[in-house]
Amino acid sequence: MPDLAIADLHAAYAGRTVLGGVSLNVASGDVVGMIGPSGSGKSTLLRVLVGLLPPVSGLVTLDGATVDYRRKADVRALRDRLAIVFQQYNLFQNMTALENVMVAPVRIRGRPRTEVRAEAIDLLSRVGLSERMNAYPDQLSGGQQQRVAIARALALKPEILLLDEVTSALDPELVGDVLDVIRGLAAAGMTMLIVSHEMSFIRDVASRVVMMADGSIVEEGRPAEFFREPQTERARAFVGRIRWHRD
């Protein structure tokens, strides 16, 4: 049984349809790579899933239970199980890296501070930042901030992790460290929905590729096959324009 099922999801922003009937299943352990041109609705889908943009219609179920986005309790319960990392990191500017990781488990979930602190330090060292844990966001590079943001999301022990173009805002030389962290998570069996423009990374790390265009899914498949022989015209045109990095 799939962990997360999305059926015929519609969403609109500022009077414009941005999702026009998206259906997608994410099973436990899946790493779904979402690709497609800018404005195709990939990021919007993630925002709808975490309840930042209410859907117009459609069904989202988590382990078979329907999520009603109009009900606060449903959204809260959902957010206890999903975590998202944003393109712009969005770290709390008034807190150190360590505080950013600790604040939600301690203050929102009420877990004991010492226990959370140990976990947080462990998470920060896993993303390679144990030496910078007392730095404020404006003292960290973009790549470092993004790794803190990933640690912050993991501290919530999510069942599914959503990553929204987490390397798009980074200088090219900082991308590698962030991608390495995500590779590590995939290898550890984390269920993830990854929106990214890093095609070679998606090809390597995803168990499934989903391509979106104009607010709907145009094709999905296994990465090796998808990138070798895309089935649809849109996907062929898109894949044809990819310039593969040598990695």
Binding site: N90, Q93, D138
Partner: protein, 229 residues
């Protein structure tokens, strides 16, 4: 300079007059301080109210907005007289200082609500999003994330406002609150030359306002500095 002023100086500069003026100046300070404290609390509450979502609070939000927009367009003197006459209607004998304090607070609440609103707006929306997806409640987001970032934006103009009210409360003399300007008028009525009485009052206002202005400027530099140095 008109004759007689020089001769008056020794008679003017007595301990009694000095104490009278200084005591009045302390009431000016107190009036301004009360206004600022009430203003930051009540104005802050209105600013926070205006950030809420949902239908239930919509009427209150509207009232808050109306209050802020209207009370910034009424002269302090008119508010003061309204409070003065309105409290008399009920027939209570309200102390004049309380009348002055209520009037100052009514106006300062409107102005400070605007200052706090701007402070809250200076915090990037993505901070709210980050908090929301980690299940922070509205109040938790404010307390843990937004207010710690907004206060350095709010403090300098709020302090400037406090200094502004130090001067604007001069109008409270018109309903008989014995603050600094009223004291000056009293001494003037006792026959001292206006150059001395109002001159002394001007100097005392300056002695309160100018150091605070300089302090405010330092404060601005201080809070504008990044946290980590």
């Amino acid at each position: 300079m008109p004759h007689g002023v020089i001769e008056q100086i020794p008679r003017f500069l007595t301990w009694y007059n000095a104490a009278f003026l200084l005591r009045a100046a302390s009431f000016t300070l107190a009036l301004s301080a009360v206004g600022s404290v009430v203003g930051i609390l009540a104005g802050g509450a209105i600013a926070v109210l205006r950030r809420t979502r949902g239908w239930a609070l919509a009427p209150l939000r509207g009232l808050g907005t109306l209050y802020v927009e209207l009370f910034r367009r009424i002269p302090f003197l008119v508010t003061l007289l309204l409070v003065f006459y309105a409290t008399q209607l009920g027939g209570y004998d309200m102390p004049l200082f309380a009348i002055g304090a209520i009037a100052v607070s009514l106006i300062s609440t409107a102005y400070l609500a605007e200052i706090v609103r701007a402070g809250l707006a200076s915090v990037h929306p993505n901070q709210w999003h980050s908090a929301a997806v980690a299940n922070f409640s509205f109040m938790q987001t404010l307390r843990l994330v937004v207010i710690p970032q907004a206060w350095s934006v709010v403090l300098p103009p709020a302090f400037g406002f406090f200094i502004m009210f130090l001067k604007d409360t001069a109008l409270a003399s018109q309903v008989g609150v014995v603050e600094l300007t009223y004291a000056g008028k009293t001494l003037n009525n006792r026959g001292f030359a206006p150059v001395l009485t109002f001159g002394a009052v001007l100097l005392l206002y300056f002695a309160m306002s100018y150091p605070l202005t300089l302090l405010g400027r330092r404060l601005e530099v201080l809070v504008a500095r990044p946290r980590h140095r």
